[in-house]
Symmetry: D2
């Protein structure tokens, strides 16, 4: 989901890589508590807000949403007691602040003529602005500023009679990337967009001795593990899964299209202990590191990851190159939600709150720094400077993704193109800006090789790699609309 | 406005008489701050929540809502700075707690195809449930559980092109009592229902030397006083007032009907320093007290008001009867929003947090207690018991309204009929239950006389007095609908 | 108690008349809940903060303190459950903000060698700064900035062995006004200073059938009423009352001195339904009003009180003069703890949040305004202006106390002398500053007459009237100390 | 510091290894902001509460304390602006909840006769209870329940005249482990106990061109790095450092004793990028891992650390043994301050919020798990179970410390002895309880070897290793006092 009012790709800081996580449970005791655990395991996909909608056995929906970490939002026993029922859906998100944000926290919920309906969305629609304009024109009133809300209005006005037919009707009208988990009074529903850009998996718990099993839908397998669910399979691209008391039903209303799963999930986004589309993430990252070592080896004394995301690639690099792996940068995990506003004096210190140099491992050494990506380049520059101040004699930066030259419109929070370092500079310039002795990115083909492919087939690329290639598999309707007028939105005071 | 999900008339405590206040400003510096002051002056009409929507000169709306007193909600300078602009509307309400409540706090706001629109509603619609069902049926999604939200959906789906025509279109479809203040990008709008049940006045500030004046709409004149506005006139029953940069325009789209202003505003609801429909409230209450003394005099030593609302009527009673007026009951105004949950031991004490007996004024005396109304009777019984424990030898209760035998469906929070003492018992029984030596209510004709009428004309009553007579001037469509099914609403966890 | 660091008499607003309330219970179920009720009834004596210390049957003390109203501080059932035990002491205060304030909220508590000890203090010590300096010099560490803390250090270092002997030892060293309620593991203790400046009463509950009764100590009788306790007697000036399981013991360690009870308690401070030193407060205020009418009658159309404190005196004035009493000024009781910071525009309106004019009662009338006192004169000036703007043709101000020409050093929060209007101006000037046609204060002798005395005996005045006369019955040691250095205190950041 | 009332070694969860961090700055712009940064870098030493006291140039002290992370406590620009001055001291701590805790948050502050004094304490006194009893006996009043408060009372009652002489007088009376940072109006003071159990280092900033430099005192060097200070030297055992405008003065008032620095700082407590007593922590941990591999090698497929603390030792183990190092356990860093209270159903799942198995790295493998210590054993047992459920065929646990058989009384929060797994069971039993195929701890001599010593000299051990040996170098006076009565302390309600 995306906030249509603030355009997240215009955010000024160097944040990158935030997305969303979705989770749903059918037919389980303490469904909301299981959902809270699942969202906790998916916390890396969005740390700003979370929500759960549960459905009790009397057909009443119960919701709780909040800002902050899942553990804090759902720690109150009274809150959990109210979220009663054997089915629930939940959502993690990144978000802005204020009342607006709370309106935007998912799952979204609506009272339809056929009853209540809750939906959680990971991804981003590329024609949401146009759809919204047309829905408002016919009298629909929007309560949030997220793209995701068009789903529920399209369902509300659909002329089909069943919930599933209305959902299919809605999905036919939207463009973009989505993995959805939805709940109504008769079923838990999962859906993935026709290209399968964002992940969604099915899990199963219990069901021994003929009792009906519990079913779980989740963005990643790591959330199946935490609730003790067994992995069943990935939801297919373009598939709709309807889970009710009779079991699991699969619907594929869209014609067959080639999948294009987001390759960035492997590089950075997914948790290392998840298995994504059949491939273990941690192992893939090590293989990318090894490939990177083969492609762009350099003489050095230590391989040092930028923690935590660069660690597996650095291990692969070290193993392949034979250069020792050392934790030359220490990450401070005790960074709260806020920190002191620095005075000029403090800013001058170039203080790094999250990383510190492990000086004895860097002093007098030739250092290979391994990181997963470069977005604006500001963080990389600070880290390189810190490593040099700690006494490194040479600093070589190796990046486990190709240069990020294009914005993502399919659900990952990237800056607009003009702010991407690799969109404005060639390799040499980037090395100079960042301050390294050498800089190398993995090649596109190398990346595909690490994923077990022979290389990238430009006619039928196996993954969505638009952020590296600009090859957008789904039309960018809103972005191409010249009349990209600001919405006349209510600002929370 | 009314909460359709919780049915306020089923609340278990003896609370009565809560309603709403509305306020709007056009063309004034610090419009939001003036609105906050106006809402403060209208605080007696609803103390649980308040909101303001301001419109800045760039056409952007800014909102802030909260629970509690106006002064606390709008005390933050940063909040007020964000509510910038020269036009604003605000609303005071009584409310329940939790996230649900915040969704319900007014003004309601919507992004229409023609732009933003904010509306604040005092009153209650009597066909809101039916309208809501039909709107949901055609695909409208409701975000709150208030009756007031039907206004904005009716406006959204109207086929008329101008805002005012859409509003008239909407008003033609609703039944009930309402005074509305609304704001869109070109005008401030006020509207009263065809019977003029709820109050609404127009005021004016400045405008000296040819500059365009500022305009104010308010539930009562006391809010004109606090901002220094001059009273211009009452909005007429069935009138729509449109205030824009060209001035004030009046529209009367409904046929002429006899007015029936709420008589209970005079008895209890309006602030004593307000002038309502041309009649000063304080003076009216004294006249009611005098009329009551004439109708049901009794030998006694002191006339004691139940503070604060019984004070003017007791003064009138005292003056007419010649029996001294004394503050025999002291009110403690320092009652916070919460208080200790009493243990059995404490409950046994029958503690009265709001009232205490002024023993030396009661001991050994024959006491006439004057109060404005009896709803369930529980409070009256406790007060009489307290007065007796303080040593009163006789207690005579005199009530400045006729017996409340029917629920209000037009915007005042009364219990359902079965809980009204006067609906279930005759005068004798009531006196016994309350524990008084004698009990008298003012007669209906006496009440009308105090208001300057010759008496009540049963064919053409000058006021809405349904709570005393059951003579409901506006159909009770929802209440008569047998299929009064509970809405399948989302419960905040 | 007084804050030694901020010097309350230097506060810049027009606040006056805040003090403290103390309450204690011995041998009662739910002692802490009863104390919360008692403090609620004493809320008029201080609204900024409150605290309770309870002693459980295992000899463990439990404390809870907070800022705000008693009802809000003690509304949490969990908090009340922790305050278990059959004995408790509590305190209401006015206070400044921040962490400093919380350290200063009473009851103060200390672990002595003989066990725990809690004390609540109403009044003000006049040699606290000197005592503090000498205690710090010998190694005592202070944790608060209140004068009251010297009591516990003096007790801690006393060479006597019993708690009561240590307390007497401490009281011999302090100067000033105090009513204390203290609790240790064997007794509840009450104490009044030798002149009996501040009030303290003893009450009793239960004890039927030979069971030991519960005992209550309270600043005023109104707090006995709320818990259902029977008034036993006032504590005498200079008396120490020790209540333990054997009963109530009286100790009078100081030589006999003439009492000088604070006359201002009658004029303003005590609640109208309290009986203070045998005299009903409400009735006294009416008598003062009548005396005032006799002393300074003037032709007028209405007598209007400045609510709420001026009401009984205005009633007395009206009755004596025959001029009708009317509520020409309405008080808004819904003023929260905070309010919008006015912009210049708003400030220019001269907005009055607490009072509004009841225009129909004032317009074209000659008005006698009755108020209890004039401190700086700023509030009076605003009220007079409001009354004139509402159309009064003449405004005559009558004050039910003599001119306040001196600061109080005995526990009432008055401005320093230089800011008292009556200390700097004669009657004529004051009338002009306030903007009235005439101004009169009751005479000193008139005030004494209203209290049943023949007049004031300058050699042996029956009351402490230092604020009107400068006749301070207790030495002002600290104030006279030229070396009135600022304490080097920790400021909360 | 230790809380004398709750006895931290009786806490029921498996928490271990929490301590405190201290930091001080002299002669620097934005001293409080630098202190906040230093405390942030020391956050691993205590995450529950923090405080800063700053001294401005007018000699006024300013304090701010709070619960939670440093970044959150000091994020408010207004708070930081109030903490003005060129000198400051700060403290991080672990703590319990409630008002009690806030009283206990350091730095402690007192107004002495000679002026203000603030002190922050890392360590634990072993005769604090006895000293407290005797101080209370002579009339001292304690405001907190920490052992650290005895310092300020001993200083307050000292008969010496200078602050430093009073401090030496106080230090002569206390027993235990301490590193202190204190601030008064003329100097910043650092002190370490005679055995130098807890760390303290001196750093320096600026001072170029003859300007007086800024000085920094800190628990660890990692906090010098964050503020850009240069490491000068460790404070010696038994040394008092006085830093004033003339420079740095060293006082060694205690006779020469052999140092016994806490060996556990190397194993777990210090941050890996700190250099402690001249030895880099990260490198030491790798050496311990290598030593462990030599002592207790075992055939296996992977070496897996228990993250994050086990990582460097596992790397050393892997390098020495040649068995591949893999991140077989993933740590979830998004654990908020609270989490859902598990229902029985959820508890049954054995959910691990902080760790998850990286299944593809464990499945079918013989796993060597490396952790830093075993305290109660409950966490180890859960982790082993998780690794087995992920498919490990063998699990061998290797611990980079000797068995923890004794409680720490010198400032580390360990359970009482009866709850230490190694105090109650031999190696075989422990292996069985934890569920591993083999279990080995590093030997005492091996640990000393990793630290560059030939082995442990039982007559003159180079470190405090009491938690492994029971060889307590400082008397445990309070613990040996049979009359270990509970303090009669005030409980916050």
């Amino acid at each position: 989901m995306t906030d249509l009012s603030t355009r997240p790709w215009q955010s000024e800081d160097d944040k990158f890589h935030e997305e969303c996580g979705v989770f749903g449970v059918w037919n389980a005791t303490d469904a909301a508590a299981l959902t809270a655990l699942g969202l906790h395991a998916l916390q890396h996909r969005g740390q700003e807000a979370a929500g759960i909608v549960a459905l009790d056995e009397g057909g009443i929906f119960h919701a709780h949403k909040g800002q902050g970490l899942v553990g804090d939002i759902f720690s109150d026993a009274k809150v959990m007691a109210q979220l009663r029922g054997r089915a629930a859906v939940g959502h993690n998100r990144y978000a802005t602040t204020g009342e607006t944000a709370l309106r935007n926290v998912q799952p979204l919920y609506a009272d339809f003529a056929f009853g209540g309906f809750a939906v959680a969305h990971n991804g981003n629609l590329t024609n949401a602005l146009g759809l919204r304009r047309s829905l408002v024109g016919r009298g629909c009133l929007f309560q949030s500023t997220t793209d995701s809300e068009v789903f529920i209005h399209l369902i509300a006005i659909s002329l089909y009679s069943t919930v599933v037919d209305r959902l299919i009707d809605a999905l036919r009208q939207v463009q973009g990337a989505y993995s959805l988990v939805a709940l109504h009074n008769g079923a838990l529903i999962g859906a993935r967009d026709p290209l399968g850009v964002r992940p969604l998996v099915l899990g199963r718990m219990g069901g021994e001795g003929g009792a009906p099993p519990s079913w779980v839908l989740s963005s990643e397998t790591c959330a199946l593990d935490i609730v003790g669910a067994e992995f069943v399979r990935d939801i297919d691209a373009g598939e709709i899964i309807v889970i009710d008391d009779k079991g699991v039903h699969s619907i594929k209303p869209f014609g067959k299209q080639p999948d294009r799963f987001c390759i960035f999930e492997y590089i950075y986004f997914a948790r290392p202990d998840s298995i994504v589309e059949g491939t273990p993430v941690y192992d893939t990252r090590k293989k990318i590191g090894a490939e990177l070592a083969r492609e762009s080896g350099v003489a050095a004394d230590v391989v040092v990851p930028v923690p935590d995301s660069g660690v597996p690639a650095a291990m692969g690099y070290s193993m392949e190159s034979g250069i020792p792996f050392e934790l030359g940068i220490i990450r401070n995990h005790y960074v709260g939600r806020t920190f002191i506003e620095p005075t000029d004096q403090i800013r001058h210190l170039g203080v790094k709150l999250k990383h510190s140099a492990n000086r004895p491992m860097l002093e007098g050494k030739r250092v290979i720094l391994v990181d997963d990506s470069i977005v604006r380049g500001t963080t990389s520059r600070k880290i390189v400077e810190m490593v040099r101040q700690a006494g490194a004699t040479e600093v070589h930066m190796r990046i486990s993704s190709p240069p990020t030259t294009h914005s993502c419109y399919y659900g990952i929070d990237t800056p607009e193109r003009g702010k991407l370092l690799a969109a404005r500079h060639d390799l040499q310039e980037m090395a100079q800006i960042i301050g390294v002795d050498s800089l190398a990115f993995i090649s596109l083909d190398g990346l595909y090789r690490a994923l077990g492919k022979p290389g990238r087939d430009p006619k039928k690329p196996a993954y969505c790699d638009a952020c590296f290639t600009g090859d957008y598999g789904i039309p960018l309707t809103d972005a191409q609309d010249n009349n990209d007028r600001q919405l006349s939105l209510l600002q929370a005071g």
